[in-house]
Amino acid sequence: MISLKEVLKKYPKKEEYLIEILLEFQTSKKNHYISSEDVSTISEYLDIPESQICSVISFYTLLSMTPKGKYVVQVCHDVPCFVNDATNIYEKLVELLGVSDGETTPDSLFTLEITECLGCCNVAPAMRINNEVYTSLTPAKIETIINDLRGEVK
């Protein structure tokens, strides 16, 4: 994880870089969110009011003001995935993780989210975990993926 100061150094002090800064910093953070201290620092650097930065973060589902799990599991629910059994995939994830859409597991390892099209309609159903996309999913495949990630942490 790189510090916010290092991220800011890469960008000119211009309002239009706000979203890029937010995205880059959030992606680098273990719990994938922008804290209120981060908002203050960015606000000072770009000279944008904190209320406006919060407004921007709250507009994009990709950005978050609350901590998420180490792995953000995003399941597509758009039509091609839906007709290819995405509902059962989601149900299986709920069963495995014990949380539903928008929630984070108590051990802060996983956050489950339903998302729009991931651009993998030809290999539906699909999901994304952090930056990696998993395709042609089946309940069995999901169990392996989740167990592997759990194993990685141990």
């Binding site: 009011p49 919060c54 709250s58 507009f59």
Partner: protein, 572 residues
């Protein structure tokens, strides 16, 4: 010129005129909701939609520029149906309990629903009741009534440059709140109340303090007195149905007497006193090499601003309390002694054009016995209007009466405190004569009058030319504060008022305040000044008597005890 048609009427307007502006110029009524004079065009609410021939969709007339040959219909069945649907949808997500809402009969949404003939809502309510922000002494934010028009954001951002409020979330889930949905107390809110004066519904309102006043008035053990701020005499009439800019000084006194106050006093008296103290402070700082420029301290919104945003320049703020607090302090000391009353049995009410005054009165520094507030309750012009209505007083026809003694005589200099530049002008009238030991040829310092955001003037004091400046709105205050902070300020004296136009445009003034109405109130204030026998604070005989009797001399020991205060950094 652009020629086009609205409802079959030939219209000719200048280029870049919106359909709404063109319609209004020709007395064609198009209903609006988020639109507000002097604020940005938001086209947020969609209520002002119109049909344009040849176009499939409806257009918002507030943001659509009229084009040559356009044929516009503002009342076609399609438009009427859309407008009604829009309003029904807004109402389905609104806490519409009108009869018990403080904005009842003063609500733009309610008026519009009535105008569009909505007797019944086809849509079931989707309102999810959320907590109300009532943690501060000045303003209440009830998000359940918010219709997301964005006027409050606009005024907080562009007029005041405070940016306390913004839109959070997306789509139908949006909310207008401070960052993180926090309370106003968590933010640098100055309680200027400009948001409350533009809110079309009851989502941001002042904290209603009329109940404790009724209680005090009905308590036989209390001596209940009231002070009336300069700006209220040119706005209470308007609040009660008279023309904007009506001067109702003496009617206010009668109405307050009728409500049961034991004595009615004029904050103008302590405004005169402020001029004597602040003027001497300025002279002292100039002659003894004190911190300059000196900045005024009458405006509590400005004090809240500077304590939170510019604590580095607190040395520049005059140590004088505001006229409201000087009155409170005198009421519970000098007045109590003179009337042989226990200060604990004196209940002081202020009628102010301001919501931030409610916060000021609650400050711990504003208690001369360190326990009880010097000013017990602050009511806005609107709240006094409410009490007058509750008592069924026919304000317009009430016979006027003069303010009570011993603070009976006031000057024109004090009256103009209500308009931007007024404190500066009043101070100059006194400081000039005291320092130069000669009479002013023309006491009207027109350079500091008017509604320009920042005004400058040059005055000769003791053989040298000095510059002074006046700013109103916090966005302009920011510009002058930055200069002071950076040491580049060319001035010796700066007047700052947080609200546009000064106190006459305060956050507690009648709803519907616009630049035009502010101007009418300003004109009225200067008329009050012109009609006064005495127009310079240092010539007020009652002020002289107060110093002879009690305070001894300006900036003396007693003055410091009662009339001066200190500030502290509250940077967040």
């Amino acid at each position: 010129m652009v020629n086009f048609k609205i409802n079959n009427i030939d219209i000719s307007v200048e280029e870049n005129t919106t359909i709404l502006q063109a319609a209004r110029k020709h007395h064609i009524d198009i209903p609006t909701l988020c639109n507000y004079p002097d604020l940005e065009i938001k086209s947020e609410c969609r209520v002002c939609v119109v049909e344009i021939n040849g176009e499939k969709k409806l257009f918002t007339s507030c943001s659509t520029i009229a084009k040559e040959g356009m044929i516009v219909n503002t009342n076609s069945p399609k438009v009427l149906n859309a407008r009604k649907t829009i309003l029904e949808l807004i109402l389905a997500n609104h806490d519409a309990v009108c009869a018990t809402c403080p904005k009842n009969l003063n609500c733009e949404l309610q008026t519009l629903a009535n105008k569009l003939g909505i007797d019944e809502n086809r849509f079931p309510t989707v309102l999810e009741v959320k907590p109300i922000d009532n943690k501060n002494p000045a303003l209440i934010r009830n998000i359940n009534r918010c219709i997301k028009c964005g006027r409050c954001i606009d005024v907080c951002k562009s007029i005041q440059s405070m940016n306390v409020l913004d839109v959070m979330g997306r789509g139908q889930n949006i909310e207008i709140t401070p960052a993180y949905g926090k309370f106003l107390t968590d933010e640098s809110c100055t309680y200027c109340g400009q948001c409350s004066s533009v809110c079309p519904v009851g989502a941001i309102i002042e904290k209603d303090d009329t109940d404790p006043v009724w209680e005090a008035l009905n308590n036989p053990n209390l001596h209940v007195i009231v002070q009336v701020a300069p700006a209220v005499r040119v706005s209470l009439g308007e609040e009660l149905g008279m023309e904007p800019g009506s001067i109702v000084t003496e009617k206010v006194v009668s109405a307050l007497k009728y409500l049961g106050f034991d004595a009615v006093y004029d904050t103008d008296f302590t405004a005169d006193l402020t001029i004597i103290e602040e003027g001497n402070e300025l002279i002292d700082r100039i002659t003894n090499g004190g911190v300059l420029p000196i900045m005024t301290s009458c405006c509590p919104g400005w004090i809240n601003y500077v304590e939170q945003k510019y604590p580095e320049i607190l040395d520049h703020i005059s140590s004088c309390k505001s006229p409201q607090q000087m009155f409170g302090a005198l009421a519970k000391s000098y007045y109590a002694e003179k009337m042989k009353l226990d200060p604990k049995n004196i209940f002081v009410v202020s009628i102010m054009p301001c919501t931030a005054k409610k916060y000021e009165a609650k400050r711990e520094e504003m208690r001369i016995d360190s326990v009880n507030p010097d000013v017990d309750v602050v009511l806005t012009t609107r709240e006094l209007g409410k009490m007058v209505r509750q008592m069924g007083i026919n304000f317009e026809s009430i016979e006027g009466s003069p303010f009570d003694k011993p603070f009976g005589i006031t000057t024109g200099a004090a009256a103009i405190f209500g308009a931007t530049g007024g404190v500066m002008e009043a101070a100059l009238r006194t400081v000039y004569e005291v320092v130069n030991k000669e009479e002013l040829k023309d006491i009207n310092f027109t350079m500091v009058r008017g509604t320009d955001g920042i005004k400058e003037a040059e005055v000769e004091l003791g053989g040298q030319k000095v510059k002074v400046a006046v700013a109103h709105t916090l966005a302009n205050a920011k510009i002058l504060s930055d200069q002071v902070k950076n040491g580049t300020s060319p001035y010796v004296f700066i007047e700052i008022m947080a609200c546009p136009g000064g106190c006459i445009g305060g956050g507690g003034q009648p709803y519907g305040t616009t630049a035009e109405i502010r101007q009418k109130r300003i004109d009225a204030i200067y008329k009050v000044d012109e009609n006064m026998t005495i127009r310079k604070s240092h010539e007020n005989p009652d002020i002289k008597a107060l110093y002879d009797d009690y305070l001894e001399k300006p900036l003396g020991h007693k003055s410091h005890q009662l009339l001066h205060t200190h500030y502290h950094s509250r940077k967040k």
